[in-house]
Amino acid sequence: MTQPQAAPPAPEKPEQPGEPGRAARRLALPGGFGLPQSGFLAQARQGGIVYPFIVLFLVLTIWKGSLFADRTNLLEILDQQASYLIIAAAGTMVMIAGGIDLSVGATYALCQVIATKMAEGGNPVLAILVGVLIGVGVGAVNGVIATFFRINSLIATLAMSFVITGVASLVTNGNLIIAYSALGFAHFARTEFLDVTTAAWTMIGVVLIFGIVLSRTIAGRYMYAAGSNAEAARLAGVRVQWIKLVTFAISGGAAGLGGIIDASRVLSASSQNGGTALTFTVLAGIVVGGTSILGGSGAIWRTFMGVLFIAIIGNGFTLLAWNPLYEQITLGVILLLAVGGDAWSRLRTT
């Protein structure tokens, strides 16, 4: 269970505007002493991913402690998930602002092949910068299509993902791009500092910045407002289209950075990397974390835990030597539970 929600029986009708009943009663009581069922539900929704994450972590620690709760294993998970975490953190902003980005897998590949090609015999810093900027540009195009041309972002970014993959294949001519000689490029992801790779450090920095932007800045407030009620936000003076465009640009840049980190790790890149598998794993992490697919609510730390939750399940399957086919089934069921839990608690609280 990802959403440990009780089945409250109370047959309360949904609240009508102007009906002081339930809200007033709950608000009249000090925090934590509200109606038991709504209190628990709210708490379960608030906590969301935290409890299943802790349970899974403890189970694996007890079961395969020596292998799982091992410093090297945990750091390796963090290192390997670096690109996913960066992309998912940016995707959280897109989703909170009321959009969805299905092109991150394609952007990941495009930026990684361009950066790798440039790094081979060129300046690695420049290669990385150009790669990320191309990602930002691709994201901005997504944003323009999804906002100013008013095409549903689901379709807009799906269509764009084909275009981007096509461009990436043109860049590579269908070949694997290899940059074994570009050792400077390898430093970008593989340097260790305090036993932690630079890939993981970069991830921590980026995720922290995204977290601050979303939770502390005016732009972050506008993202929540745009996704919560676009018309109300517009009437309150928020430039809804603009802020949504910014989230898509950030998402594109993050996809580019993720792709480059992974290319730097293996010093090779391909237009076939990333793709829909990456896109959907990232989306699964965001949704399992508890960010609403309808926009307006969620948080970066949730996504952080959601992505790692999925990663730990994968790690557990490996350590227990279980058939990896079941891993996919498990992931699917967890995703359904997460989305179902969100829809269900929405039904109950609004």
Partner: protein, 513 residues
């Protein structure tokens, strides 16, 4: 119905003590009436008198909270529109439900298509359609695309649909509101013919002329209560309107503070043309509440949205005179509420749920949304200053019932409305537009909002108040503009501002625009 012969000339519909509430608002109270078979029965009243609600209850689209609905003497309780249709009751709502991609005949027989082994029988469909259309004298091509029809013809499709389900009772909610004069005549002919053929028609209408022309009996509602049911013969528009007037008991208003005679003009609107607005001009002075009255659809909200640039403006100018200075600066026509806000205009929109609040977000974020820059440094929102600013404003508008971190959805309607006032006032506007600020709030909160509005005028704010509640307008506004058909038809002030004068202007003469 088995006993229809026996009831052919008798009572078709009987309502006993019908009551209905929405949230805390009582929409209908103790309504009892009978409608005889084959008659045309009109429901009239002001905005919010409960006529549409009553129409929907008769049609089974809404279930009453109290009382009984009897059909041909049998108590019925419809669980769904489908139940009602099976009982021979049909509603033609204001918003038509035509499937634009289907043909006329497919629309008419939707759900009851003649079929063989699951396949549509097109020939049989055509035959039955032609038969049905001929029986009521409609000349409407059954094979044509329904989406491209004119509104009047769409109405016909709805009527045919009702008839093919053997409707014995058809409730029509404002069927002619969107029609031109010739189409209105055509539809009137249809309604008369329906009645001649024994179908009972309940007509909800704003147009008193139409009601007198068509109806056999008229039921007048006021504040959700039945005033009287009278034969239409012998009534005039004036007598109907007189019956619609009258004071309700719960409204008390704070004393008006007269705007200073030399108060400067803070908002001047000239020849404003926008969707639903056909050339509106007026001035608003500092410390004044200007009421905008009119029927639903008269263009009041559209004026507000055009001034606030929430809708595109085709032509005309809006000028705000900001600060204490004499120099006025133009609000640029950009279709952008941001610029209107910067110029000193704030609007509290018509629907707080759809256009005002971020229901799932905390109270604090809802209040500070428009003025985050005031409590931020380098783009970072400062939690301390934000909390203090919001707290001060919440206490000024007297919003209670929740902490700053509770979601806005947890508050009552009245307090939600106060959140919007708080948001607007934080930007220290020169002009405040309040569109239906007391809709769906209880009596206590209404009174609080009235007091707030009055207090704000003392601070020199100019307020444009839109309300469907005529008493509210009369109780608060210094001057009243009455709108009809996207135009200001009259301005009333002082002794001339009476409920009768406002309603007379709002309903207009017998002629339609």
């Amino acid at each position: 119905m088995a006993d229809s012969d026996q009831n052919l000339q008798g009572v078709h519909v009987e309502l006993r003590d019908i009551g209905k509430s929405f949230g805390g608002t009582r929409a209908l109270e103790g309504v009892s009436l009978t409608i005889s078979r084959g008659s045309i029965h009109a429901l009239v009243g002001e905005n919010g008198a409960g006529k549409s609600t009553l129409g929907k209850i008769i049609a089974g689209a809404l279930a009453p909270d109290d009382g009984q609905l009897l059909l041909a003497g049998e108590p019925v309780r419809f669980r769904s529109p489908r139940d009602a249709i099976n009982a021979g009751v049909n509603l033609i709502a204001q918003e038509l439900s035509i499937m634009g991609s289907l043909t006329v005949e497919q629309n008419v027989f939707l759900g009851v298509e003649p079929s063989q082994a699951g396949f549509q029988n097109r020939r049989e469909l055509r035959r039955r359609y032609n038969e049905l259309a001929a029986s009521v004298g409609f000349e409407l091509d059954g094979g044509g695309n329904a989406g491209t029809l004119r509104t009047a013809d769409k109405q016909k499709v709805e009527i045919l649909r009702a008839l093919c389900r053997n409707a014995e009772l058809i409730v029509m909610d404002e069927p002619t509101a969107a029609l031109s004069r010739p189409d209105v005549d055509a539809l009137h002919g249809v309604i008369r013919q329906l009645a001649r053929n024994g179908t009972t028609v309940v007509l909800v209408s704003h147009f008193l002329g139409e009601v007198l022309e068509l109806a056999d009996e008229v039921t007048i509602l006021r504040d959700g209560r039945l005033v009287q049911t009278v034969p239409a013969v012998g009534q005039t528009e004036e007598s109907l309107m007189a019956a619609m007037l009258g004071r309700s008991l719960d409204a008390t208003f704070p004393a008006k503070r007269p705007a200073a005679a030399d108060a400067r003009t803070v908002l001047s609107v000239r020849d404003l043309v926008a969707p639903g607005v056909n050339g509106v001009s007026f001035d608003l002075r500092a410390g004044e509440i200007l009421g905008l009255a009119g029927l639903v659809g008269a263009g009041r909200t559209e004026v507000a949205r055009a001034i606030y640039r929430a809708n595109r403006v085709q032509s005309g100018s809006v000028t705000v005179s900001a600060g204490g200075r004499t120099d006025a600066h133009q609000v640029t026509v950009t279709g952008n509420p941001r610029t209107a806000m910067r110029a000193g205009i704030q609007m509290i929109p018509e629907s707080r749920k759809d256009q005002g609040l971020l229901l799932g977000r905390p109270v604090r974020e809802n209040v500070s949304l428009s003025t985050l820059a005031q409590v931020s440094r380098l783009g970072l929102v400062q939690p301390g200053p934000e909390r203090r600013t919001v707290r001060a404003m919440l206490s000024r508008v007297d919003a209670r019932g929740g902490g700053q971190s509770d979601p806005a959805s947890a508050l009552s309607g009245g307090n939600q409305q106060k959140l919007l006032f708080a948001r607007s006032l934080l930007s220290d506007p020169t002009v405040l537009i309040a569109d239906e600020p007391t809709r769906g709030v209880d009596v206590g909160a209404k009174r609080a909002i009235y007091e707030l509005l009055t207090t704000l005028t003392a601070d020199g704010l100019g307020i444009l108040l839109i309300s469907s509640d005529v008493e509210e307008i009369l109780g608060l506004a210094h001057r009243v503009l009455v709108m009809r058909g996207g135009r200001v038809v009259t301005e009333l002030a002082g002794e001339n501002a009476t409920e009768a004068a406002i309603l007379g202007a709002a309903f207009g003469a017998v002629e339609r625009p």
